[in-house]
Symmetry: C2
Subunit: 130 residues, 2 copies
Amino acid sequence: MLKHSKQRDAIKNFLADRYDHPTAETVYMNIKKEFPNISLGTVYRNLSLLAEIGEIQKLSTGIGPDRFDGNTAPHYHFICNCCGNVLDLNVNGLEHINILAAQDFDGEIEGHVTYFFGKCPCCKANGRAS
Amino acid sequence: MLKHSKQRDAIKNFLADRYDHPTAETVYMNIKKEFPNISLGTVYRNLSLLAEIGEIQKLSTGIGPDRFDGNTAPHYHFICNCCGNVLDLNVNGLEHINILAAQDFDGEIEGHVTYFFGKCPCCKANGRAS
DNA sequence: GATTATATCAGTAATAGTTCTTAATATTGG
DNA sequence: CCAATATTAAGAACTATTACTGATATAATC
């Protein structure tokens, strides 16, 4: 049974307003402005809980700490090899790749996770190296 | 300047013979049979080094520790939601998804990482739940 | 509204996975 | 063979995350 909590609300609302996929640490630092006594453990617990019930998305990019996304609409993510920023990426026509994957596979494909890597618009414009 | 090392060779050869994507810990346990004094740090350092120069692949699935794959030929990976095993998956027609991703994107897509999730053939056959 | 059950909390300790440091050893170019 | 230096083993340190604790907040029941 799930009880209401101000801390959890604040975490969810904070993520809903951002598009930069903050880490647990960043969420913690920011929620602290509103709840000076909140603990990092509470932030982690609620982020995990929210991700589990599908109200936020957890991004495990393999580079640094996990990141969180308040946007639950289906979309993909791009990670800049150069500056490390994580950007939203709308990619059409990728829905079918589960079917492609299932072609020669005896198990059951239920979903996939894809991260794109490269140079973000900013780093590309400034000629920075990957 | 890269010097030759027996330990690194052993790690690379070990991975070349396996198709189960072992973790650093598993590599360590096995190499220990041949080099009883090898240290876990050495295993980690060489795995990172080998991945960096492209002689093995590092898999950061977001679930548990990183895994390593001696097969450098392009292929995808499947993670069983049920038993956690990581399987190789050959998926045709996925080469173009970088182009799809680049469509509405001002940066530069250099690559992607995709993990498929679901029920492996074994868990499916045994009717296990995800 | 008071009572009760329990989910959540803050604070902190503990863990997992990985990287770093150090002094000794192994490899290679000259 | 010798000097230069990459690599090693051992263990400390570090980062990210989870677990434990007793206290507090929330919601259901009386």
